[in-house]
Symmetry: C2
Subunit: 201 residues, 2 copies
Amino acid sequence: MADSDLREVKLGSRELFKGHFLHAFCDQVKLPDGATSAREYIVHPGAVMIVALLGDAVGEVQVVLERQFRYPLGQVMIEFPAGKLEPAEDSQRCAQRELLEETGYQATQWARAGQLHPAIAYSTEFIDIWFARGLTLGQRQLDQGEFLDVFTASSTELLQWCRDGQVTDGKTLTAALWLQNVLMGAWALNWQTSVAADAPR
Amino acid sequence: MADSDLREVKLGSRELFKGHFLHAFCDQVKLPDGATSAREYIVHPGAVMIVALLGDAVGEVQVVLERQFRYPLGQVMIEFPAGKLEPAEDSQRCAQRELLEETGYQATQWARAGQLHPAIAYSTEFIDIWFARGLTLGQRQLDQGEFLDVFTASSTELLQWCRDGQVTDGKTLTAALWLQNVLMGAWALNWQTSVAADAPR
């Protein structure tokens, strides 16, 4: 399928706003029919999300989740650990760092599952989806001003919460799709043994 | 689990920017430890997404999908039909309107599956997830300056594209979670017979 009937071409760009977090632009674009229009969007550094699996020789797989107050929605959300990439930071190192900082867990094995784009109409953000296993629990190191509770749940519980509306965070719902298919054996992961996040490379 | 250790309290708010599409605010907030911080976010009217099922007496279920150029990412994305709520518009009416406008399909049966929040760190946006069946194809009515291709795919194809990275749109990945569980019989939908989108109420 060719894209020439769909593509938009940038004619110019101006910064709308640069805050501590939000960085917005408005571009003038040429539409496929030759008309011009404007596109407003947020530039985002990208992020990672971690599905950390807790093995249990007898029971089913447990995952590490967080409860975090999300100000734009005014409510506490259930989510997988996640965080933004630092400048020039490697995606896997970011995943190791965020998991350790937010939950205290380190993992011996990592697998990159895929990527999602949370808000394609108005943000450049991508989120790399990482799975982790071989967990050991240490001390978490939350950023100043960061408040979140860490807990574990079974994959069955998580999927029930996705169905019942207790989980509505888009990235976590996407991770649930991955988790379900990995656990069913339908989607394979390419596990790699990894050094700890704070070990020298 | 109590939320008092997580909740942030609004102290004040100022508008950062009001564009044609983006409307951004910065609020001063009191953190759980009593410190103050700032929260920047986009106010969004909310949206709907439609998973329209094409019955086939012999084969597997097909879904109606779109290919649309998404300027912030600079690429054509595979997505379920979706659109923003008009002021005071009912969610189901919006779903009926968007499906008809973008694809030309009308449906006799509708079921609200759930809701997702695509970007909980910086947007108030919610997306209501609707399923539709009993489809008849008419003429689509794209908005001026709107360009998108409509096509159908089997649920198997869609799930392969989610696994392989050809589908990375977060809302579509969430819809795939719903579709997979509905088709497996794990998650039930409450189907309602509905009048057509352009019929008088």
